[in-house]
Symmetry: C2
Subunit: 250 residues, 2 copies
C-alpha cells in the first residue's frame, strides 16, 4: 500500500525541499520504491535531484500522469518534475473540491506502483499546498528553531485541521522535524524546548544539524546521502528515515 | 517625496522580513519618517516589531487607510499591520489591474506624510507580491548565498520586468542584498562571485553576515539596531541603510 507524505510549511526556507529529497533518497536506499512530486513553482526539488523542470505541469496537462514520471540517478527513486508555468496555475487554482478530487485521483493512479510518495510544497497556504494536503496520508512539517517558527505553525495546523474535517480519518500528522539545528545557540535550544513541550510525540526525536554538506549537495544534483554519506547531515537524514519507517510499524 | 521600496523574493527564508524591519529602523534613526507595510499573511514583520496582527486587512477593508497605521516603539517608524485573514484574500486575489490601481491609490493616500515606505512580501509570485511591485518605486531582493538562490532570482526578475512593461519608468531595481553571509563557507563565496559577476552594480556592496543577534531581536519585538547596536548584524544594516540612501542621491 502506498503512503503519501506531504512536506509543507508556509514559512519559507525551513528545509521542505531538502527534507523531501533526502528522506526520499533514504527510503529508496532502504529498498522502498519512492516517488517525489514537485508541486513548488520554484522547482527546487527537481533541480536538486539533477533534473530540469517540465514545460507544463503533469497535474494540469491532460493525459495520464504515469507518462510524466521520470527515473532519477538514484535507483528506486522517481520524480514528477515541477513546472515554472505552474505560477500561472497557482493563481488560477481555486480551492475547489473538484480540483482536489481530480488531483487525488490522478496521483492515486500514478503512484500505485510505489511504496512511498513525497510531495514538496511551496511556502504558502494557497491552492497548491491544500491540494497536496488533500491528496496525502500524512503531513510532515520541517521547522527551523527560530522565533518566527512557532508563529507559522499555528496557522499551518489550523489549515491541516480544516482538511482533516472535510474528510475524517484520511490525513494524519506525520511529524514536526527540526532542521538547521545549531546546538551552540541558546535560541535554538529554547525553541526546541517549546516545540517538544507543545507538540510532544508529534515532534521527531531526530533533529537535522546545520551542515554545509546539506546545502552543497543539490548543486551537484545529489542527495546528501550520496554527496557526503559520512557527514552529520546525511547521518541525520538516515536516522529520520528509520524513525519515520518505525513509526509506521508502531 | 515618498519612496516606496518593495522587499520581495519568492524563495523562502532569505531575510525579506528581517531586512524590512532593520532597514526601516535604520531610516527612522537617520531621521526619515518611515512606514512598514506587512503584506505577508504570516505577519512576521508585524510581530517582529512587537505588534499584533489586524483582524482584517487594512487594504481590503473599506475606509481610509491612514486610520490603520500604528506608531511603533521606534520614534519615526510606523506600521500597517498584516492580517492572517489575508490568506483567504490572497486566494481571492486575481492579478486584476483594477485591484492594483485601488491598492496603489490607497497606499499613495496613506503614505504622503512619510519619506520612506517598505512593503514586506510573502514568499510567492502571486497576487500580493505583484500588487506590491505595482505600488512600488524600487524592488529590493534579499538572497542567501546558497544553491537555490540563483534559480529563484531569474523567475523573480521575469515578473519584475513584466510589471515594468505594464507601466514603464515607474518600478526600478533597488538592489540585491546578500544575507546570512558566512565568509568561512566556500559555497557562500562561490555564489557571491556569481551574483556580482551576473548582476554587477545592482548587487549591494554591503552584505549582512549570519549573526544570531539578528535572529534573536524579533523575539523581543525589536530591530537588531536596538537589540544589539554593536553586533555585526546591526552594523551591516546601518551600512546598508547608508548605501541605499547614497544610491538615492547618486
Ligand atoms: N541541515 C541543513 N544545513 C545547512 N543548510 C541547509 C540545511 N537544510 C537546508 N539547508 C539550506 O537552507 C536553504 C533552505 O532550505 P530549503 O530550500 O530546503 O527550504 P524550503 O523550506 O524548501 O524553502 P522554500 O520555502 O523556498 O521552499 C537551502 O539553501 C538549503 O540548502
Ligand atoms: N543575518 C542573519 N543572521 C542570522 N539569522 C538571520 C539573519 N537574517 C535572517 N535571519 C533569520 O533567518 C530566518 C529567515 O529570515 P526571514 O524570516 O526574515 O526571511 P523571509 O524571507 O522573510 O522568510 P519568508 O519567506 O518566510 O517570508 C529568520 O528566523 C530570521 O530571524
Ligand atoms: Mg522548497
Ligand atoms: Mg518574511
Amino acid at each position: 500500500v502506498v503512503r503519501t507524505l506531504c512536506v509543507a510549511n508556509q514559512k519559507g526556507g525551513v528545509g521542505k525541499t531538502t527534507t523531501c529529497i533526502n528522506l526520499a533518497a533514504g527510503f529508496a536506499k532502504a529498498g522502498y520504491r519512492t516517488l517525489v512530486v514537485d508541486l513548488d513553482p520554484q522547482c527546487n526539488a527537481t533541480s536538486g535531484m539533477g533534473e530540469s523542470p517540465a514545460s507544463d505541469h503533469p497535474f494540469v496537462r491532460e493525459g495520464r500522469l504515469p507518462e510524466a514520471i521520470r527515473a532519477t540517478r538514484v535507483p528506486g527513486l522517481s520524480l514528477v518534475p515541477g513546472c515554472r508555468e505552474w505560477n500561472a496555475i497557482e493563481m488560477l487554482m481555486r480551492w475547489s473540491a473538484e480540483d482536489m478530487r481530480v488531483l487525488r485521483r490522478r496521483l492515486e493512479e500514478a503512484s500505485s506502483v510505489f511504496d512511498e510518495v513525497l510531495i514538496d510544497c511551496p511556502p504558502s497556504l494557497g491552492g497548491l499546498t491544500r491540494a497536496a494536503l488533500s491528496a496525502a496520508d500524512e503531513v510532515l512539517m520541517p521547522i527551523q528553531c527560530e522565533y518566527f517558527a512557532m508563529e507559522g505553525l499555528t496557522q499551518m495546523i489550523h489549515v491541516i485541521r480544516e482538511v482533516m474535517r472535510v474528510e475524517p480519518g484520511r490525513l494524519e500528522f506525520g511529524g514536526i522535524l527540526m532542521t538547521m539545528y545549531d546546538e551552540r545557540l541558546e535560541l535554538t535550544r529554547e525553541v526546541e524546548r517549546e516545540v517538544r513541550e507543545f507538540f510532544g510525540e508529534i515532534a521527531f526525536e531526530t533533529v537535522v544539524p546545520r551542515d554545509v554538506a546539506v546545502a552543497e549537495a543539490p548543486s551537484h544534483g545529489m542527495s546528501v546521502l550520496d554527496y557526503g554519506p559520512r557527514t552529520r547531515g546525511a547521518r541525520a537524514y538516515v536516522e529520520l528515515c528509520m524513525e519515520v519507517l518505525n513509526r509506521d510499524e508502531g
